[in-house]
Symmetry: C2
Amino acid sequence: MANVSNTSTGKGRVVIIGGNAAGMSAASKIRREQPERDILVLEKTAYTSYSNCGIPYFIGGMIKEVDRLVVRSPEEFREKYNIDVRTGHEVIEIDLGAQRVKVQEREAARVTEESYDQLLIATGARPFCPQVEGMDAAGIFGLSGLASGINIQEFLTNKSPQNVVVVGGGYIGLEMAEALTRLKLNVSLVQKSPEVMDTLDPDMGALVSQALRGIGVKLFLSEGFEAFEVKEGRVTGVVTPERTLPADMVILGLGVRANSHLAKAAGIELGPRGAISVDGRMQTSTANVWAAGDCAASLHRVTGQPVHIALGTIANKQGLVAGTNISGGQGWFPGVVGTAVSKICAVEVARTGLQEKELQQLGTDYATATIKTRTRAGYYPGSGTITVKLLGEKGSGLLLGAQIVGMEGAAKRIDIIATALTAEMTAEDLIGLDLSYAPPFSPVWDPVQTAARQLIKKL
Amino acid sequence: MANVSNTSTGKGRVVIIGGNAAGMSAASKIRREQPERDILVLEKTAYTSYSNCGIPYFIGGMIKEVDRLVVRSPEEFREKYNIDVRTGHEVIEIDLGAQRVKVQEREAARVTEESYDQLLIATGARPFCPQVEGMDAAGIFGLSGLASGINIQEFLTNKSPQNVVVVGGGYIGLEMAEALTRLKLNVSLVQKSPEVMDTLDPDMGALVSQALRGIGVKLFLSEGFEAFEVKEGRVTGVVTPERTLPADMVILGLGVRANSHLAKAAGIELGPRGAISVDGRMQTSTANVWAAGDCAASLHRVTGQPVHIALGTIANKQGLVAGTNISGGQGWFPGVVGTAVSKICAVEVARTGLQEKELQQLGTDYATATIKTRTRAGYYPGSGTITVKLLGEKGSGLLLGAQIVGMEGAAKRIDIIATALTAEMTAEDLIGLDLSYAPPFSPVWDPVQTAARQLIKKL
């Protein structure tokens, strides 16, 4: 992407489209650096700064009040931070030449215009919905912001569905499947690949599939879905090539796509999977226009290629970097290594780096090692199983990725590998690390090092 | 230390002095590499390969059978691994010129000699016992191997002590204090420094002191101990400058010293605090003589200086490296960064790198940042407090160390910093790491990154 010069990052009016993680991280950073800067945030929904990731726990009843998911309300931003946050304001067009945005005000039903000196696009992502028959029926939900969580909860309360089908077995699909089993519903899950969670290799995904069956989720694997069966405008079934699953509620867990239509229409360059292309400063292809969060691409530090990964951590970091630069400082987002973590009842799941299918696509000469051991010293109460799969490059010995499935205390170990990948460590470097050990925390060789001791024999 | 050439590492007879973590790691590695190699292990006690770190949990009743602490018995090594392990055999002299060791056989009460081509000294460490009045009284125990754990448990059973004083507030002292409160004894702890656990800075140590008081341990801080009060050969009190604490049992927790007297007597070079000097291959100053484990020094990767840190993880790694080299391979122990972890009831404690007093001694221009946040998303059930202190170098921004005190899930985060220290990362690098996030595991900014965001302002 061409390097674009900005005339005056440190002054003038800032307009931010989107008031969640990335947008409000940027707004807060700018306010801390520049107490007098004119900052306008335009948010189409009624909410700001909430935890998307917490929604499944709200639906599952582990969190009673939806307000607990809100980190800061629009009022707080206005009153405590002097940030002009306008909810119910949807930007419908960006005019790059005039440096203006066109805004649809929901309540007043009118369109106004706002000018900017610096524009941050932080429009997030939306659930991927394939265009199939019955898509618009009542009872079909994607997880897209706090409002969708409230809608799902109201539907559960008012319509008392019994048979829920989750379509797609990624993080959100699985966390929702767990939440719905907590409510004692009949939960089925349809997934096109041979195991759930295809960001893991199938051998590791199989452990997660097994955990889901253990909590009563019926899995229909290697089974795409074709259409929804609808009666009187309400969903009644999910149609696959093999069968029709009865469903009075459907949750879409097919991943997300960047909300980049505004940027695209304005002529801003897009990157992988339609995410907005940015450099390490979070600048787009256009002067004075920035992007951050689930709508933006990231550099993958292992491959060196841009990727689109929509996660709250990344959105917060990118927002902070964008805010730093917009307020005249020097911020740099170094990229991602593909780290993610989830918990399905008692089973913890984590991954980082590249998985086998990615390495095969890249033509990398790699080896893998998978070990099963204990989360704590074997004799220590509460010790559980942990399976670690490590991937490394033959010849160089460089680490390429890791996947972990195990009981309490297993998953956060992925951060060791995420850090090691960033530092371009080899399997031998990993074995040499001075990691912490005491019986309540680990066997004397940390499981990631035990895996590295196996891996090194194959590299 | 001079580089010493070995004539023939891959062949001849290997004699190993000491059959615990380092010695048996080396023996097992040599056997895997060389199925026919002549390996003799001389162990003065009746036990091999046990977990020293598990002893407090055995004494506290969390582990019922002492056998559970034994990883592999002498019989197993003899029968399954064909390693000639002789227990009750104490080496009393090393003759470097003749390449022989003199052995005192406990049961036969005779002294024999064994010759070696390669000798590994893995004699471990012993609790530090200051030479004060009353030191030899019954009822005073250091933690030194499985036998000492069994002795303590028998004393507890047979003598039913009520008032126990722990002298010294390091890891072993604190873990023993916790174990003894589990048995409903009156436990006092005497510590010379202003807070327990002086491998932490006092501000962080204060959190641990507080946790100990919370489980009913009476703390006498900034109070050295001077002598033991003894009646009829049994300890009855611990004398400090301020008072005499009644005690029918005393646990020494004053740290350990390397068991290096054999090496010293033979003229082998010693290093910090009397630990045996070794290079990265675990070779001593003498050809064909190696050392590993609690008796040996390590390179500190942050200071570049040798240190003596006696921990099971280090012993296992050093043993593996020594075994690799003795069997003719190329092993290298890269050193340590000072990582340690412990759990005092519900409170997890971890540290790595350098602490303030070390940095002051080195004359390093450093800054610190301490933050208090949550172990999980604030709204997620079971979220607890975590305090993270980070230390970094002014100017360069390099990380220098970290200390963590917090509830479940807090401490293992120290491994992120241990890895970052090894990779010589800056605070800014730490902020940029792609660490895992989901509500059950972490706030959206991992606490170590929140600390780094504070630290960076001061560097």
